[in-house]
Amino acid sequence: MSNPDEEGLRAEEQLLSRAQAGDQDALETIFNTYRNQVFSLAYRMTGNATDAEDLTQEVFLQVMRKIGSFQGRSSFSTWLYRVTVNRARDYMRTKKRNPELLSQDGDGAEPHEMLYATSNGPQPESSAIASEAQRLVQQALMDLPMNLRAPLVLHELEGLEYHVVAHMLRLPVGTVKSRIFRGRVKLAEILETHKEQWR
């Protein structure tokens, strides 16, 4: 007898196979199911909605191309997180060295074009502008080096367990914990200069 989890996995596998074979409906279902997960992570990693959109597109294009290499050892969602983090790291390295190749947002440009909170479901775009506090915290996050930002975002914002983050980033669990500790201390140091504004 199969349990509901197994049935869900089988349904997901079938959906992935159909998407791989070019089924547009399956592709759309996958995109609609996971787009916010990918976009949100991309946004937290890049700090910029335009870059996050580009990155989301790149991730799903890569998923389309490499869906055959997904072997089901982790959940599709975890695999998608890994693809997104790897693409984001690549993207940010590229941007750091060759900003002209990517979006027109310079490193010093305003990085927060928009934020859409989803805690209560989709919200009208006009009412979802980020607060000043959120803007400052996101800015501080962007000031962290990528090796601290990635584990911090995955654990603290995406809610992934330490061992999942470690698997995803191919790091020992102890290193992940240590980077999260350092990342949080550094974040507090950065925010200290703006404490009246964000608290």
Binding site: G22, N36, E53, Q57, N86, N98, L187, A188, L191
Partner: protein, 298 residues
């Protein structure tokens, strides 16, 4: 408990995630350690700050744009979708190798002519025959026969160099654009070759690098680090040089163009990395990055 151990529990202490016993133990240390109390204060500040960030959703217009691009790419790829699967490519590669190997053996026993395949095969050794114009061309020799069989194909091998060049942004671009091996890889190799050869070429490049007095293991680690984010990249070039007066290792890797249907390795990425910083923190060692695209159209 000392500070080193206390630091390992402080994040969970600040977030309220410790067991009672460990919480008490950490609390006891905190009472007597001002430094750890200061760190705890900072962790509490960052907890508050991070709690302000919520998951963001993709704006509607961005979703529509992205979905439209995905659908158009999917439609153009669906005709050849089966043949794009890595598993199918790998299976096809193994079958090709078996068939070619069988043909070679039959050819040797019957005295017939040996086929001349264009793709690389496993189970063969290589012998350098020339090293001019940048890339060394190797002739493949069957391992099955005691007498070397006639050449059955050629590989363009990666190139390592040690120079005293002191590059800047402009001269790096010029070097990358003019590099012969980059163009030869673009014309010779495909995506499936990259899958089959990437480990071998990484080792070959490291061996050459060591022979030139370079640090082979670090070069291999750098290639592996780059391939973490994009595994289908075939190492084609390494140079020990200077960049802005700092010792660097330049790594060139060829891959298929992004967003296109071509499987030829016509895109070459160049990474300029500081080996000392790489050991401490790979993410902070990259001094320059660029890519060159080769137009293979005839």
């Amino acid at each position: 408990m000392d500070c080193r151990r206390a630091k390992k529990t402080l994040v969970e202490y600040a977030d309220g995630g410790l067991s009672r016993a460990r919480r008490d133990e950490t609390g006891l240390h905190l009472e007597s350690c001002a430094d750890c109390r200061a760190l705890l204060g900072m962790l509490e500040v960052s907890r508050k700050a991070l709690d302000k960030l919520e998951r963001v959703s993709m704006p509607g217009d961005a979703s529509r744009r992205t979905l439209s691009t995905l659908k158009s790419q999917s439609a153009s790829a669906s005709a050849g979708g089966f043949f794009r699967s890595p598993r199918v490519i790998a299976t096809a590669g193994i079958l090709t190798a078996v068939l070619v190997g069988f043909a070679i053996v039959v050819g040797m026993f019957t005295g017939g002519k040996v086929p001349n395949p264009k793709v690389s095969q496993k189970g063969s050794t290589t012998t350098p025959v020339s090293s001019s114009g940048g890339a060394a061309e190797l002739t493949k020799t069957s391992v099955a026969g005691q007498t070397p069989a006639p050449p059955v194909g050629s590989l363009v091998m990666p190139v390592a160099r040690a120079t005293s060049n002191n590059y800047d942004n402009g001269s790096m671009k010029t070097m990358a654009e003019g590099l012969d091996v980059r163009k030869q890889f673009a014309q010779r190799y495909t995506l499936s070759d990259a899958v089959n050869l990437r480990v071998l070429f990484s080792q070959k490049l490291a061996d050459q690098f060591v022979a030139l007095g370079g640090d082979g293991p670090t070069l291999e680690a750098m290639i592996s680090y780059i391939q973490q984010s994009e595994p289908v990249l075939l190492p084609c070039y390494a140079e020990r040089a200077l960049f802005g007066g700092q010792n660097v290792i330049i790594v060139g890797l060829s891959g298929p163009p992004r967003g296109g249907n071509s499987k030829m390795l016509s895109r070459t990425e160049f990474w300029v990395m500081n080996p000392e910083k790489f050991v401490a923190n790979p993410d902070s060692c990259i001094m320059w990055w660029g890519q060159s695209l080769q137009n293979n159209s005839k």
